[in-house]
Amino acid sequence: MFRNQYDTDVTTWSPAGRLFQVEYAMEAVKQGSAAIGLRSKTHVVLACVNKANSELSSHQKKIFKADDHIGVAIAGLTADGRVLSRYMRSECINYSYTYESPLPVGRLVVQLADKAQVCTQRSWKRPYGVGLLVAGLDESGAHLYYNCPSGNYFEYQSFAIGSRSQAAKTYLERKFANFMSSSREDLLKDALFALRETLQGEKLTSSACTVAVVGVGEAFHILDNQTVQTLIDSLEIAEEGPVNEEGPAADQGPPADLDPPADLGHPPAEPAVAPMDI
């Protein structure tokens, strides 16, 4: 996209009827690290690539729980994502308090979209630079939505956003027809497969990704490292690829509940793996 005289502020139309600032905001989403969502009739899975900047730092948080039945994965400006997650949590809890009932996902998504739209029509604001994959469950079933900085939102069977998401989308396009009737395990496996596509040959390890699930009878939660690693291992066994890591039990000490301490010595040939898992 080239610079032009119509892209200085968000309230200027181009002669072709485009709002360049909004389009630039959507570019920011494409630069963020990949986030993938898939849903079946009863479950929704979110998976993100979560690489830390350096070995010394912790990971950027990319998946947020908004309520027991709704979670969101973000790609783009994570600070904007955090603020929007806080808004989502606030809306969910206010609705729950007034109506003793979970906020229908579709409504939350519309509220988010309207909030994003405001920023595209005020000269003193800027669009949110973050794309949101909203996963949720309500009376009408499991849902996955994508919220755009433009204020648009779409419902998806499965979707991927962020850098190198096209590779994941290609994989998902091949497989999505079966997702509606997939079991929870198959959905998780497909999510990890799709995630691996975005890594372009790099090794997929549980310390470099975050996976979360919500389903009927299962509150939204982020899977702990051990569970994710077990899933990754089972992917590789199924594929008869070279498996050079030991089972997770050998590495981890007592079974971890949430975010266990560092997997030191886990995949030995992985210099890019951050040792700290916070």
Partner: protein, 246 residues
């Protein structure tokens, strides 16, 4: 302007031109008991059509059972003007719910909780809506029946009543209610309770309205009178034991 009374002058100087709104102190036009029960297909409610002005049975065609949205039925006793206000709040609530146009709709549980918040909030401001509300409904096969009082006390049960109904109707319901009441049995049970209330509650009026809510929707039945029996021997010759009295 009464210049002798200085407190009055001060209050008009200090307060705004329009009088500050006063708080609810007592109710004026009131409805009496409402009874609600769960039955096989949904919820049945009964109330009389009377509204008293103190001890006068002033209005005799007041509908105290109203539908709310697609799934709920609201019955109220207490101050009628506050009930009308609540209906306006609910109207707005349902309107905004429909405006989402997304296939979701507020069910009886949500409406009940909303009403609880409204009543409790007003109670906290010492300006209550002087009503006891019964909210019943059915959504996706799930039956719901709850009560909210004017101070925000709320609970759910298989059978609820307001006012005198709590004392006279609920004992009958505790003995005779069961899960699988048919419509006819449900109405008979409600009539039994309403008859006791008619005999014993001085603000009851003999014009009963029955309403039901099922998956198909809300139905209200034309008002009718209950048959009563007064031919007790003690009533026929009241002075038989005490000549000269009346």
């Amino acid at each position: 302007m009464n210049l002798v009374d200085s407190t009055q002058v001060n209050s008009t100087l200090l307060s705004s031109e329009t009088a500050s709104s006063e708080r609810t102190l007592y109710p004026y036009v009131t409805g009496t008991s409402v009874i609600g029960i769960k039955y096989k297909d949904g919820i049945l409610m009964a109330a009389d059509m009377g509204a008293s002005y103190g001890s006068t049975l002033r209005y005799k065609s007041v509908e105290r059972l109203k539908p709310v949205g697609k799934h709920s039925l609201l019955g109220a006793s207490g101050e009628i003007s506050d009930f009308q206000e609540i209906l306006r709040y609910l109207d707005e609530l349902i309107l905004y719910d429909n405006m989402w146009d997304d296939g979701n709709s507020l069910g009886p549980k949500e409406v009940h909780n909303y009403l609880t918040r409204v009543m409790y909030n007003r109670r906290n401001k010492f300006n209550p809506l002087w009503n006891s509300l019964i909210l019943g409904g059915i959504k996706n096969g799930q039956k719901y029946l709850g009560m909210v009082s004017m101070i925000g006390v709320h609970f759910e049960d298989n059978h609820v009543a307001t006012g005198f109904g709590n004392h006279l109707a609920r004992p009958i319901l505790r003995d005779e209610w069961n899960e699988n009441l048919s419509f006819e049995d449900g109405v008979k049970l409600l009539e039994k309770c309403m008859r006791v209330l008619l005999y014993r509650d001085r603000s009851a009026v003999n014009k009963i309205q029955i309403a039901k809510i099922t998956e198909e929707g809300f139905t209200t039945y034309p008002p009718y009178a209950l048959k009563t029996f007064w031919n007790f021997s003690a009533f026929e010759n009241p002075t038989v034991g005490a000549e000269g009295s009346w």
